[in-house]
C-alpha cells in the first residue's frame, strides 16, 4: 500500500526515461532467457549422479535464481528511474529527497531602464542590485539562468549555472542599452530554458525585473501585448512567477519623429524638414527651443510652445543643400531638458542630396512620337518639361527592348519595363541583382507581354524578381466592358493621398484590359486593386531594393488613366517608392545594422566606420544579392555614423525607438489580468527573494542511486553466499 502511494506521488523530470526504466527492468530477464538459449552441450556419462543432485537442489536453486533476478531487476529499474530524475512533493518523506530549484532571472536592460529617479539612480542599476540580492538568497544547490530583455532577448546564462561567482560576473557584464523591450522573447526564452531544465517541474521559478512598459501588458500595441501575455501565461503554468516592477518616473518631452517632406532632394531645391515633439509627461511642458543642425552647424531654430500632456507638435523647418552628397541633420531640444530619459531629446536624419536621378525606361513597342509608346507617357509624367532645356531631378532615358542588353543598370536608380515581350534568363538575373543592391524595378503590362516567359523566368516559383504569378488577360464584364480602380483600403503610401479623394481621376479612370496576378503572400503587398478585387499594383521588397508590377499599361492602350491628371501624381509616387532615395534606408533604429551597397570597384577600397561616439571601426564586407555591401552593426548607440569608402563619405543616422520614451508602467491589475492571480507582484526591490520551499518537489535521484549501490552490494554478497553454499 505504501509502495502504491509512493508510486502515485512520484513524478519524473524525464518521464520518457522512466518508461525506459520499466523496459530496462526486463534486461536481466532477457539476459536470463538468452543465456538459457546460449549453452554448451556436454555428453555426460555420470548422469544418474547429476540427476540425483539436481533433484535435491532444484527447489533451492530456483529460489536463489529468482531472488538474484529480483535484486538485479530492482537495481536496474532503480538506476534508470534515478536517471529519469524522480521527484515528489517536498512534504512527503522530506528526509530522503533533495529540494533543488532552477531560477530564471529576466533582467530588463532596454532603453526605458535608463530613466533615472530624482536621486540620479537609473532603473537598470536598481534592477541589477535587486537581482544581486535575489541571487544571494538562493541556496547553493539551485541553478540560475539570466536573460536580458533588450530586443532581441538574449540568454546571458542559458543552462542553469551553480557557480555563483560566474553568475555575478555575468550579471555585472550586462549593460543598459538603447534598444526596445522584448518581454515576449525573454519569456519564451525562459520557458525554453526551464523546459530543458533538469530540476523537478514544481521547482522552477521566473523573476521578471522590469519597468513593465504598459504597451506590452495590454494597454499599448496589441501585437506586443498579446505576444507578451501569451508567453507569460504559458510560463505561469510551468513555473513560479514573480514580477518586480522597477521605477515610477514620468516621461518628458521627446523628439518622436524627424523626416524630410520630400523623399527626393535636389541640389539647391528647398526642402522642408518635419520634426515631431511629444510631451510624454503628465504635466504641461514648458516652452523650449528646437534647433536643427547640419553636421554641427545650426541650420534653423524654432520656439516650441508649451505642449499639453500626451500632445505632439509638428514643426516644419526649411532647408537647402548647395551640393550633392549625404548629410546628417540633428534636431535637438534646448535648453537641455532635465527629464528622466535624456536620449530622446535628440534625433538624427540622414539625407541624400542628388543633382540627378536617372531612370531607364524600356519600351517593348516604342512609337514614332513620344506619346505613342508607354515609356513616352511615363517619361512625360516623371520629368515634365515645358521647354526641352528645362532641368528636372528625374532624368528618364528611353530605350527599346533590344538596347537593354547594352545598358549598365547600375547607372540608374530605377528601371521601368513597359510592355516588354520577353527577357532572357540572364536579363532577369541582372534585374534581380540590381534590385537586391538597392535599385527599383517597375513592370507595366501590355499586349506584347509573354506571360509564360514572365512566370517561368521572372517569377520562377517565387524565387525570381516578380512578386506574383501572372495569369490570364481580363477586362470588364459583359454588361460593362471595363473595370475601375477600387476606392477602398488605400493605406499604402503610394496611394494613401487618394484615400480622401473619392472624386479623384484615379477612380474615374476605366481599365479595359489587365493581366491578372496571383500575388505571392509571403513577400508581395497589394497597393491598389480593381473594383473586382483583382490586384492592380503589387509591390515587394527584395534585398535593399523594391519591385512593383502594374497589371495594366502605362499608356492609353488598356486604360484611360494616363489621360487623367492623377496619373502623374500616382506614377511619381510609385517611382519614388520603388527607388527610394538612399537617405531613407540610411536611417536606422538602434539595434539594426547600417548597410551600404558597394560597386565592384569600391569593394577593394578601405572601409572604415566612425561610430556615434567617435570610435573608428572596420566595416564588414558582406554579399548583397550578386554584389557586395559594407555592413556595420547592430548599432548600439543613437547618433550619426559615417562610412568612409575610400575617400567617399556616406552618412547614416541611428535613432532610438520613440516607443521606449513612454515610461508609464503597467498597472498591477493589468499584469495580474495578463498572467493570472498566481503571480507574485512586487514593487519594492527589498521584497524580491526566493519563494519558500512549501509546495516544492524533492528529488530522489541521489537517494535512489544509493539504493542501487546497496542493492548491488547485497547482490554480490548474496551471489557469493549462494556459491559458497553450493
Amino acid at each position: 500500500m505504501v509502495t502504491g502511494t509512493l508510486a502515485a506521488l512520484l513524478e519524473f523530470i524525464h518521464p520518457h526515461l522512466a518508461i525506459g526504466a520499466l523496459a530496462a527492468g526486463l534486461i536481466p530477464v532477457i539476459i536470463h532467457l538468452i543465456n538459457r538459449r546460449r549453452y554448451r552441450r556436454m555428453p555426460w556419462a555420470a548422469m544418474s549422479f547429476l540427476l540425483a543432485a539436481s533433484r535435491r537442489s532444484i527447489r533451492r536453486m530456483r529460489m536463489e535464481q529468482w531472488w538474484l533476478l529480483l535484486i538485479r531487476v530492482a537495481a536496474i529499474i532503480l538506476f534508470c528511474a534515478a536517471v529519469a530524475r524522480p521527484y515528489m512533493a517536498a512534504s512527503s518523506l522530506p528526509f530522503l529527497g533533495t529540494v533543488r530549484s532552477h531560477h530564471a532571472i529576466l533582467l530588463d536592460n532596454s532603453r526605458s531602464m535608463n530613466a533615472v529617479n530624482t536621486e540620479g539612480v537609473s532603473r537598470f542599476e536598481r534592477a541589477r542590485k535587486a537581482a544581486e540580492m535575489l541571487i544571494a538568497s538562493f541556496p547553493e544547490t539551485d541553478a540560475i539562468s539570466l536573460i536580458t530583455l533588450a530586443h532581441p532577448a538574449e540568454a546571458v546564462i542559458e543552462y542553469g549555472s551553480y557557480d555563483r561567482r560566474f553568475v555575478r560576473e555575468r550579471l555585472a557584464s550586462v549593460r543598459p542599452t538603447q534598444r526596445i523591450t522584448d518581454t515576449a522573447g525573454a519569456l519564451t526564452e525562459a520557458r525554453r530554458i526551464l523546459k530543458d531544465s533538469d530540476v523537478a517541474e514544481g521547482n522552477r521559478a521566473v523573476y521578471l525585473v522590469s519597468d513593465l512598459p504598459s504597451r506590452e501588458w495590454g494597454t499599448g500595441s496589441e501585437a506586443a501585448a498579446s505576444a507578451t501575455i501569451r508567453a507569460g501565461r504559458q510560463l505561469t503554468g510551468e513555473a513560479d512567477f514573480t514580477v518586480l516592477r522597477i521605477g515610477d518616473e514620468e516621461g518628458g518631452l521627446a523628439l518622436t519623429s524627424l523626416m524630410c517632406e520630400s523623399s527626393l532632394i535636389g541640389v539647391n531645391a528647398p526642402v522642408r524638414v518635419l520634426v515631431e515633439t511629444t510631451n510624454l509627461s503628465k504635466t504641461r511642458a514648458r516652452e523650449c527651443e528646437l534647433r536643427l543642425q547640419k553636421e554641427g552647424q545650426i541650420l534653423r531654430a524654432a520656439k516650441l510652445p508649451p505642449i499639453a500632456p500626451g500632445e505632439s507638435v509638428l514643426t516644419s523647418l526649411p532647408a537647402t543643400f548647395a551640393s550633392p552628397g549625404t548629410y546628417t541633420l540633428t534636431a535637438r531640444l534646448l535648453p537641455r531638458v532635465a527629464d528622466a530619459l535624456e536620449d530622446d531629446n535628440e534625433r538624427y536624419l540622414s539625407v541624400e542630396v542628388r543633382d540627378t536621378a536617372p531612370v531607364l525606361l524600356v519600351d517593348g513597342r516604342p512609337g514614332s512620337v513620344p506619346l505613342d509608346g508607354q515609356a513616352g507617357y511615363l517619361s512625360t509624367a516623371l520629368a515634365p518639361r515645358v521647354n526641352p532645356t528645362d532641368n528636372t531631378l528625374i532624368e528618364p532615358k528611353l530605350i527599346t527592348e533590344l538596347e537593354l542588353e547594352s545598358e549598365a543598370l547600375t547607372d540608374y536608380d530605377a528601371v521601368v519595363l513597359c510592355n516588354v515581350q520577353r527577357l532572357s534568363p540572364e536579363q532577369w538575373r541582372h534585374l534581380q541583382s540590381f534590385v537586391f543592391a538597392g535599385g527599383g524595378v517597375i513592370l507595366f503590362m501590355g499586349d506584347l507581354v509573354n506571360v509564360d516567359n514572365y512566370n517561368r523566368l521572372g517569377y520562377a516559383e517565387g524565387a525570381g524578381l516578380l512578386p506574383g504569378q501572372l495569369g490570364e488577360r481580363r477586362g470588364g464584364s459583359e454588361g460593362e466592358p471595363f473595370t475601375t480602380f477600387k476606392n477602398d483600403e488605400l493605406r499604402h503610401p503610394v496611394v494613401s493621398e487618394f484615400a480622401d479623394l473619392p472624386d479623384s481621376g484615379l477612380f474615374l479612370a476605366r481599365v479595359n484590359n489587365y493581366l491578372s496576378i496571383n500575388a505571392d503572400p509571403r513577400r508581395a503587398e497589394v497597393v491598389l486593386r480593381y473594383a473586382n478585387n483583382d490586384p492592380a499594383i503589387v509591390v515587394s521588397d527584395m534585398g535593399l531594393g523594391r519591385v512593383a508590377v502594374v497589371t495594366t499599361t502605362a499608356n492609353t492602350d488598356w486604360t484611360n488613366l494616363p489621360a487623367k491628371g492623377d496619373y502623374v501624381s500616382l506614377m511619381r509616387k510609385l517611382e519614388a517608392y520603388v527607388c527610394p532615395p538612399y537617405g531613407e534606408r540610411r536611417n536606422v533604429l538602434v539595434g539594426e545594422a547600417a548597410v551600404e551597397p558597394l560597386s565592384p570597384a569600391q569593394a577593394s577600397l578601405s572601409l572604415r566606420v566612425t561610430t556615434a561616439d567617435g570610435r573608428i571601426a572596420d566595416g564588414k564586407l558582406v554579399p548583397q544579392g550578386e554584389s557586395l555591401a559594407m555592413r556595420y552593426g547592430p548599432i548600439e548607440q543613437a547618433g550619426a555614423l559615417t562610412f568612409a569608402i575610400g575617400s567617399d563619405l556616406v552618412r547614416f543616422a541611428a535613432n532610438v525607438d520613440p516607443i521606449e520614451s513612454e515610461l508609464t508602467p503597467a498597472a498591477e491589475s493589468a499584469v495580474r489580468a495578463a498572467l493570472g492571480e498566481g503571480v507574485r507582484f512586487l514593487t519594492e526591490e527589498s521584497d524580491l527573494t526566493a519563494p519558500t520551499t512549501t509546495g516544492k518537489s524533492s528529488e530522489w535521484a541521489t537517494t535512489m542511486l544509493y539504493m542501487v549501490l546497496c542493492l548491488l552490494l547485497y547482490e554480490s554478497l548474496t551471489a557469493m553466499r549462494f556459491s559458497a553454499e553450493r
Binding site: R40, M42, A45, M61, F722, R726
Partner: protein, 316 residues
Amino acid sequence: MLDAATDYRKYLDPKALAKIGNLELRARMIVEGFFSGMHHSPHRGLSIEFADHRSYVQGDDLRHIDWKLYGKTDKYYIKEYEQETNLNLMLVVDASESMGFQSVQSALSKFEYAISIAAAISYLALQQHDSVGLALFDERISHFVRPSNHPHHWKAIVQEMDGKVGPAKTSMERLFAELAERLTYRTLIFIISDLFDDENDILRGLKLLRHKRQESVVFNLWDVAELTFPFRGPTKFAGLEETGNLLTEPGSLRRRYLEEVERFQTAMRTGCGKLHIDYVTFNTSSPLDVALSAYLATRSSRIRHRFSRVMSKETV
C-alpha cells in the same frame, strides 16, 4: 640423462600412453615400465610343486630351508619349486556407451584406460603362467574368451578388446548372473567398469559371484571430470546410455553432485568390504601402475594363502 628405469616409467602416464595407438605395445610398455621401477624380476615366481634342492647361500629366505634334509645331512638346503599355473584370471571389461566418455582433461577414455589395464594385467599374468580369460560386457556379455595360459593367448585377448565400446547400457546384475553360470571353476575375476548402474544391483551380482565361491576385484574407473565436475556456465548435459538431458548451471550443482559420487563410492566400498571384495577406484588421469600393483598384491596374497595351506599339510 635419464636411465632406462625412468624412461620406461614415463609410459605409465596416461598422457604418454595415449600417444601409443597399438594396445599390445601399450600393454608391454605398462608392464616394462612398472617393473623397471622394481628391483627384482617378475619371472622368478614361487610355485608350490617341489623341483630340486640347492645349497643355502647367504641371503636366502630361511623359510625355504629344508629342515628335514638338514636333520639327515646336517647341511642347509633350499627347496626349489617347479613353476606352474596356479591362478585362473577372468578380466571382465565394461564396454558400454558410458565407458566411451572422455573429458578434455583426460588423455584416455575410460574404455581405453580399462583395456590398457586389462591388456597389461593379462600380459603380466601370462608371464607368470597364470590362465587369463576375457569377458566384454554392456547389457550382457558380448565377447567371451576362455582362460588359458598359452603364451599366444595374449594376442587373442588384446584383439578381442581393441575398440569394442558400444552404444548399449550397463546391466551389472544380469552380467554377474551370466558370469556365475559360465565360470564353473574358481577364478579370480577382475571387474573393470565405471559401474554406472544401480549400486544395489551391482552388489547383488557380486554377492552371487561370491556365493559361487568366485573371488572378485572391482576396478571402478572414473574420468577426472566425473570426480571434480569442473564445469562453469550454462551447460546442457546429454546423458549417455539414454539417461536423458539436463540443462543447468553446473556450478550450482557441483557440491551436491560430488556428494552423490562420494555416497556411491562409499556404498560400493562398504558393500564390497562386507563381501571381502577388493574395491579400487581409478582416475583415468592417474598412472596405470596402481592397477598392476593391485593385481600383484592380490596374486601374492592368494598364493601365500595357498602356500601356507600346503605347508601346513606338509607339516602335518
